[in-house]
């Protein structure tokens, strides 16, 4: 199957799967994402089953503010694009371009987090807390787990930026970067369902 061999000194086109370790890593990461899909599905199932159990607290209709959610969504969606752009730069071995896009991605992610924290604080103020009802618990568990993923992603990508700055784009750093970008897109996919099934559905009833 060796249908293509670059003249050996040249770097291969797709850095992330250029080495054996890289290939393992990417495949392994996809499997991990498969597992994460099930994990989130269970949280979604739990949330959907419990979302009307708000007891005396505010209901979904009363609580959610779609404008804020729309803004957060825009930020996260855009960050997904910038993340993929950084990968293109990576495969062009354009260090500066890649890091620029990565930093923009991080900034958008941070913006999203700030909005989410603001939103949570607001809800707590309204009497909708983790402990106030089953609806509260399941809401924070689902949206909070997503938020935790975003946070972890930000930390992870930051450490990767440090590594690339030290070592450059190599067949060792590239799979890491690529995989973190997959992770970032995955977070975005989950968010699509959160805004659909939590916020929009919450308004519809």
């Amino acid at each position: 199957m060796a249908n293509h061999t670059d003249s050996s000194t040249e770097m291969p086109n797709h850095l992330e799967t250029a080495t054996f370790e890289g290939k393992n890593k990417v495949l392994g990461f996809w499997l991990f994402l498969g597992a994460e899909t099930v994990l989130f599905a269970c949280l979604f199932g739990t949330y959907l089953a419990l979302r009307n159990q708000s007891l005396d607290g505010p209901t979904t209709q009363e609580l959610f503010d779609l404008k804020l959610v729309a803004l957060a969504t825009a930020l996260l969606l855009t960050s997904s694009l910038t993340s993929v752009l950084s990968m293109i730069k990576m495969n062009e071995r354009n260090m500066k371009g890649m890091i620029t896009w990565l930093v923009i991605t991080l900034a958008l992610g941070l913006g999203f987090l700030v909005l989410e924290i603001y939103e949570f604080l607001h809800y707590v103020h309204e009497g909708h807390t983790f402990m106030s009802s089953a609806f509260g618990s399941s809401f924070y568990a689902l949206v909070g787990t997503h938020g935790a993923h975003v946070t972890f992603g930000i930390i992870w990508i930051t450490t990767l930026i440090i590594q690339v700055l030290k070592r450059g784009i190599t067949t060792e750093t590239a799979p890491k970067l690529f995989v973190s970008s997959l992770y970032w897109h995955f977070i975005d996919v989950v968010w699509v369902f959160i805004f659909t099934l939590v916020y929009l559905l919450g308004k519809v009833g």
Binding site: N24, L31, F130, T159
Partner: protein, 636 residues
């Protein structure tokens, strides 16, 4: 208090390291010691042995708990272990056996065998492999520490909420369950992921998917089940932890929560889990039966197909554990039919085994005895499984001893028999020594008879109206005699297990050395290399030219495999202390959460993150070894 001590010791330890106030030579010696070697190993063969030892240890503990339970149930009105203590025993028995004995033993064999069977030098992620083991081990230790620190979990291995909430199960017992299993579970998930990638990416040239030995196939599907089933359990445990530790209300009906959600989450995981533990046993059966019948596996393709189908259907039947929850006739019927469907692929397997032996030349070596004992025993267990799958009948069986009988027939008669077959079969490959045959036969016969004596009567106990998870029963309702027999049977299993232990010790001391092809009948790649294999497994990656790769060469008159590459230096991954460090971090954090010692919890998490960080910046490239020239080497 305990937290404080732990904290103090660790702080001192770290201070010693960072201030340089330690003895360099001591560290040097430690680094070169055998213990350090085992603690930091990333070699799949050694990790396999670690899993084996860990799994056996927990099997003994779980067995001891079973003995205690059976002693209490020997006669009505006994008061050895009553009430809560009995509930602790049964919970810990079930949990230990499933998560800390059966699964690790499966991972032991998978580690020892899968890379060899596919002609690989290693697994895809040696580091993660080690991490998986240490997480399992520390999780298991944490769970068992509950006996000392304030009481073991007592809500059953299913830990149904309601009962498992703070209100009804005060004390840290269930917290130990939650955190111990969470940690062990992450380890298992990592292990499963590793094996999938290994089997996809690391196969030797020519080893196509339809040439994989059946054990590798089942390892593959089992790993897939682990990958997709464990997340549900992770979520279940997470939510239960929130409820118990942080006052959320997922399962508290007074606050709008629902216990049924726990049942769903648990069984979405729990049912695939039982196939996780049976499929590798099926794989072992297939390999062992074909080896000792001196015949190619009958219907290889349909075996593979059946394995995949069982794995697939396994995700669609979980509600059969919930027939009496009151979910309605439609839901019960749908899940009943889906459950019954699993009998078909399983039947295909059973008949294929029978016809593998048909026309063969069967040698009753110990592994084969276990395999032969497996077939009727497992079939009985499977039949009672099908009987349980009928909701109207299950309304009677559910939570009675009939169920206990069913699952011991499949778990012990299936999984444990399978594991014993595998251990006897591959022991020479793992340790380079043959286990003693006559001790092995004694082990088999005492265990088999004891097993049936213990569990066959339990079917009737259930039908006579004895619920499970009870610490006593009434007199004069026809339950005494059968319970007596059941308890007496355990003696058989106890004696059998002791024979096994004696066999191990005897073999380690003076067992005869094993050949490369230890049984003389080897069909698959692992028998083409020395026992035990060198650290790089294959000096030259073999070229696979058909199913039963070694047998193909034997038939062609070759003594060894044809290599697929020239002899050259081999790259090996470096050992690493990070897996054990990270697991220790999780352990400390878990313990901290359980005793509500937030500093310890935070400290543990810091260790975890430090380990992650070290790992992320770790660019160790491993080392190279020069393999010895195999006696008869080279290409022609």
């Amino acid at each position: 208090m305990a937290t404080l001590i732990v904290l103090l010791v660790l702080v001192l330890f770290l201070a010693a390291i960072f201030t340089g106030g330690y003895n360099r030579q001591f560290l040097e010696r430690m680094r070169n010691s055998r213990t350090w070697d085992w603690l930091t190993t990333v070699d799949h063969k050694k990790i396999g042995i670690l899993y084996l030892m860990g799994g056996l240890l927990f099997f003994l503990i779980g067995g001891l708990e079973a003995i205690f339970m059976r002693l209490q149930l020997f006669a009505p009105g006994n008061d050895l272990f009553v009430g809560r203590t009995f509930n602790e025993l049964l919970t810990m028995h079930g949990t230990t056996m499933i998560f800390l004995a059966a699964m690790p033993l499966i991972f032991a064999i998978m580690n020892a065998v899968v890379p060899l069977q596919i002609g690989a030098r290693d697994v895809a992620f040696p580091f993660l492999n080690a991490l998986g083991f240490w997480l399992f081990f520390f999780g298991g230790v944490l769970l068992n520490l509950s006996w000392i620190f304030g009481g073991a979990p007592d809500a059953g291995w299913t830990s149904y909420t309601g009962l498992a909430l703070n209100q009804y199960s005060p004390g840290p017992g269930v917290d130990f369950y939650v955190l111990g299993l969470q940690i062990a579970g992450i380890g298992t998930l990592i292990g499963g992921l590793n094996f999938i990638v290994t089997i996809i990416n690391m196969r030797a040239p020519g080893m196509t998917f339809l040439r994989l030995p059946l054990f590798t196939w089942t390892a593959f599907v089992t790993s897939g089940l682990v990958l997709f089933a464990f997340p549900a359990f992770t979520v279940a445990l997470l939510l239960l932890m929130f409820d118990r530790l942080f006052g959320s209300n997922f399962f508290d009906h007074a606050m709008g929560g629902s216990t049924v959600i726990w049942e769903h989450l648990f069984w979405i995981f729990g049912h695939p889990e039982v196939y996780i533990v049976i499929l590798p046993a099926f794989g072992i059966m297939s390999d062992v039966i074909s080896t000792f019948s001196k015949k190619r596996l009958f219907g290889y393709n349909s075996m593979v197909f059946a394995t995949v189908l069982i794995g697939f259907l396994g995700f669609m039947v979980w509600v059969h554990h919930m027939f009496t929850v009151g979910l309605g006739a439609i839901s019960n019927s749908v899940f009943a039919v889906a459950t019954m469907a699993i009998a078909v692929p399983t039947g295909i397997k059973v008949f294929n085994w029978l016809f593998t032996m048909w026309g063969g030349e069967i040698q009753f070596k110990t592994p084969m005895l276990w395999a032969v004992g497996f077939i009727p025993t497992f079939v009985i267990g499977g039949m009672t499984g099908v009987m349980l799958a009928l909701p109207p009948a299950d309304y009677q069986y559910q939570d009675s001893y009939f169920v206990v009988a069913h699952f011991h027939y499949v778990l012990v008669g299936g999984t444990v028999f399978g594991l014993f077959a595998g251990i006897y079969y591959w022991w020479p490959k793992m340790f380079g020594k043959m286990l003693n045959e006559s001790l092995g036969k004694w082990h088999f016969w005492t265990f088999l008879i004891g097993f049936h004596l213990t569990f066959f009567p339990q079917h009737f106990l259930g039908l006579f109206g004895m619920p499970r998870r009870v610490f006593t029963y009434q007199t004069n309702v026809g339950l005494e005699r059968l319970n007596e027999i059941s308890t007496i049977g355990v003696a058989g299993m106890l004696i059998g297990t002791i024979f096994f232990l004696v066999n191990i010790i005897y073999t380690l001391r003076k067992g005869p050395k094993a050949e490369a092809d230890a049984w003389g009948l080897g069909r698959t790649l692992e028998w083409s290399i020395p026992s035990p294999p060198p650290e790089y497994n294959f000096a030259q990656t073999p070229l696979v030219r058909g199913f039963d790769a070694l047998w193909v060469e034997k038939e062609a008159g070759n003594k060894t495999m044809t290599p697929a590459e020239p002899l050259g230096s081999i790259h090996m991954p470096s050992p690493s202390y990070i897996p054990i460090m990270m697991s220790l971090g999780f352990f400390i954090a878990g313990f901290g959460f359980i005793v509500r010692g937030i500093p310890a919890a935070v400290f543990g998490l810091i260790i975890v993150f430090a380990a992650l960080f070290l790992r992320s910046f770790d660019y160790d490239r491993g080392y190279h070894v020069e393999p010895e020239d195999p006696e008869k080497g080279g290409k022609e």
